[in-house]
Symmetry: C2
Subunit: 432 residues, 2 copies
């Protein structure tokens, strides 16, 4: 018996795109009848120095007598004074930008932060026009499509593709098309992007971010920058980058990749006029986020350990994984197949474009699964945007969270499967 | 400069009703230029045995080596296996109702749980009809109106008022009107109620709950029972009551009043067909709730301490506060004014009906504030339902979380202010 749902309930229960794939992956892994090499996403690794830092903080909480007031009291929907003050101090000291407490909102993780932000600014407007969440450069995080309460709210601009040496490539912002779309548009509610980018590992240049922010100022809409992999923490950037602050940008910062995914702490830094709006949403939908996590975050911001472990332990750990994946692909992938790995500029993922792939990404996913390897097919990251290019179905996302051996073995199996489908295709063509 | 919001963003940012009052209260208390007796809500008291229980659990976590996996890993959107299994074991042992893990969902607090539930089932339907969240007996928790994403989604049935001895009264379910409203209705998405009731302290009888549940079965809609004050925890019930389990009921359980408001743990127990829907919403909007809080909750469910402190420390603490409030009002309130306190059956509140009140509840709120006492005016708990009765504007909510002295002093000041406005009214009438 299926329950009767509201339109919002139906939207949230859709089992298509990334949710269908993720559901399938969870089922496969939960089944337990077979061992898989999980290169889909999985959990971030538990890094010893990072885990020790969080444990030490919690031990201190129990010793310093603050515990009852942290755990046994409700707090402000903006977040605890302690964490907000720590964020203000830390970011003001580090960056040349005036940050006040009115610029800060703490949420139960950055997914929830994006949920509040996107749905505050995008979706049906009182003028009857659906305000889009515009992604300036596809592909981007599939969870944005999941987080919107109204259907058809996410739109994206196809990227330019720039070939590099050595089986590498890079996406570039199509500035012209982006500016064209923004020009005079009254159906854009917000612009949203991840930097570093999930899934591709691309890092938009500061110049591009400023160009996007300027267009947002013109249109009077916020620019949501999902900073889940950005410096100063978790700092999973492999090229130089710094957060950009303007009067349009809301940074959506996460502690999940710096060892605290279990505790759900998200930090928004942005203009007070936007922060206020998201705070109201939070107070209605959640009251506030966990105060234990907030206490822990404040402590490691204050003593500088969070930024330090991010830089010295988290970043090199994933950078080495990326190099390992790249080497394994260069070693294992067949010579006569055109393939390209996106330049590794940051994030937890390798993004592989197999230009010669004769089957769709979802079919490659199925064949890899049959061979014991789980990856994430790439199409969902293009958000069902009508882009008439085979590229959309030629990409897969490979997680850097797996063990070294698993990445190496996985690359070998992947190479074999790709070789198989490509040869099969050639045979069919030759026969025809 | 006001940002442009979606309809949902505007709804969440409305500053009317309870949100306007709560905003005012926060501002007044934050100001600090004056001391107030805060009988508005405030934080639950930190009770020593309860606080010690939570601290002991967290100490054990740090000792038993589980910490890194709790804190450093993502988990299922249903909740951790440990807490789900603990809930299943605890409720199955205690109640004669078969509970499986498919019946359980863990969320970041019960406000968020209600947010997912109400918006999954209520609001605009694909048939173009707005599905209401129906409150069977007003008054009820003002937060339901805050949590709905669509305007005009909450509706309520006025109560019957039953006078009791000794300045006491009790609300009764208007069964006839409720059943009439449910009969053949295709514009009801869910029925929602709190038991024990916030604000009145009423506890609907099991018979009434079953009658409501039967009507929900007929209409094929869920019955959301907000169990924030119910047994088995926090067990802030002052008369006998037990949770009722049927194939329509979703219990929305909270740990906030059992000493853990800071950690945001909500537990839904209900039919799998509904639980699944809420889980999908959660996975899109929040991923999952804090795992530290979940670990702590599982431990104190398993060893029985949560139910024990609820019964032996939490319940008597608030019951004594209620008796104290009642005695203070009987002692202090003027003899020639008709006033009635709702029978204290449970919850954190005393609910005072001043039948002779010549000014609106919001005006009484303002005068009390001017005299240094903060209460919550009652009208918002009637959810702007068109009920043509002065009763709606004659009630105030008094929190039982304040110190004994504050309750006594507050009752004295209240009595004086009420006497003043009533005498003033008489003078005006006599002159006229």
């Amino acid at each position: 018996m299926k329950p009767k749902l509201s339109i919002i309930g139906e939207k949230m229960n859709e089992k298509t795109g990334i949710r269908a794939v993720m559901g399938d992956i969870q089922e496969v892994l939960r089944d337990g009848s077979r061992e898989y090499l999980n290169l889909s996403a999985g959990n971030p690794m538990i890094l010893p120095e990072t885990a020790a830092m969080w444990q030490a903080v919690l031990e201190r909480l129990l010793e310093d007598g603050m515990f009852p007031s942290v755990i046994s009291q409700y707090g402000s929907s903006y977040g605890t004074d302690e964490l907000i003050n720590s964020v203000v101090r830390f970011f003001s000291d580090r960056y040349d930008h005036d940050i006040q407490k009115e610029n800060v909102l703490i949420t139960a993780g950055s997914q929830q932060l994006l949920f509040f932000a996107i749905n505050s600014f995008c979706g049906m407007g009182s003028d009857g026009v659906v305000k889009k969440a515009l992604i300036p450069m596809l592909p981007d995080y599939a969870g944005y499509s999941g987080a919107v309460l109204d259907m058809h709210t996410v739109e994206g601009i196809p990227p330019l593709i720039s070939a590099l040496n050595d089986h590498m490539f890079r996406y570039e912002l199509n500035r012209e098309r982006f500016l064209q779309r923004m020009q005079g548009a009254c159906d854009i509610g917000a612009v949203v992007l991840s930097r570093p980018n999930n899934p591709s590992g691309n890092v938009l240049s500061e110049e591009d971010v400023l160009l996007i922010s300027d267009a947002c100022r013109e249109a009077d809409v916020p620019l949501l920058i999902d900073s889940a992999y950005a410096p100063p923490f978790p700092a999973i950037n492999f090229i130089e980058m710094e957060p950009v602050f303007t009067d349009q940008i809301i940074h959506c910062i996460s502690l999940s990749k710096a060892g605290l995914p279990g505790e759900r702490v998200g930090i928004a830094i942005g203009p007070p006029r936007y922060i206020k709006v998201m705070e109201a949403f939070q107070s209605n939908a959640a009251i506030h986020s966990s105060r234990l996590g907030q206490y822990m975050a404040a402590a490691v911001l204050d003593d500088g350990r969070l930024a330090a472990v991010s830089q010295h332990e988290v970043r090199p750990y994933y950078y080495n994984k990326f190099l390992l994946l790249k080497d394994a692909l260069l070693r294992e992938m067949p010579d006569d197949v055109k393939w390209h790995l996106h330049r590794g500029e940051g994030s937890l993922f390798g993004w592989l474009w197999i230009e010669d792939l004769p089957v769709a990404d979802i079919e490659l996913y199925a064949r890899l699964k049959a061979n014991g390897v789980i990856i994430v097919p790439g199409a969902s990251f293009f958000h069902h945007v009508p882009w008439d290019s085979p590229h959309v179905r030629q990409c897969i996302r490979i997680s850097l969270t797996a063990a070294d051996e698993d990445i190496k073995k996985g690359a070998g199996i992947l190479a074999g499967v790709v070789e198989g489908v490509c040869q099969n295709e050639k045979l069919i063509k030759n026969r025809g």
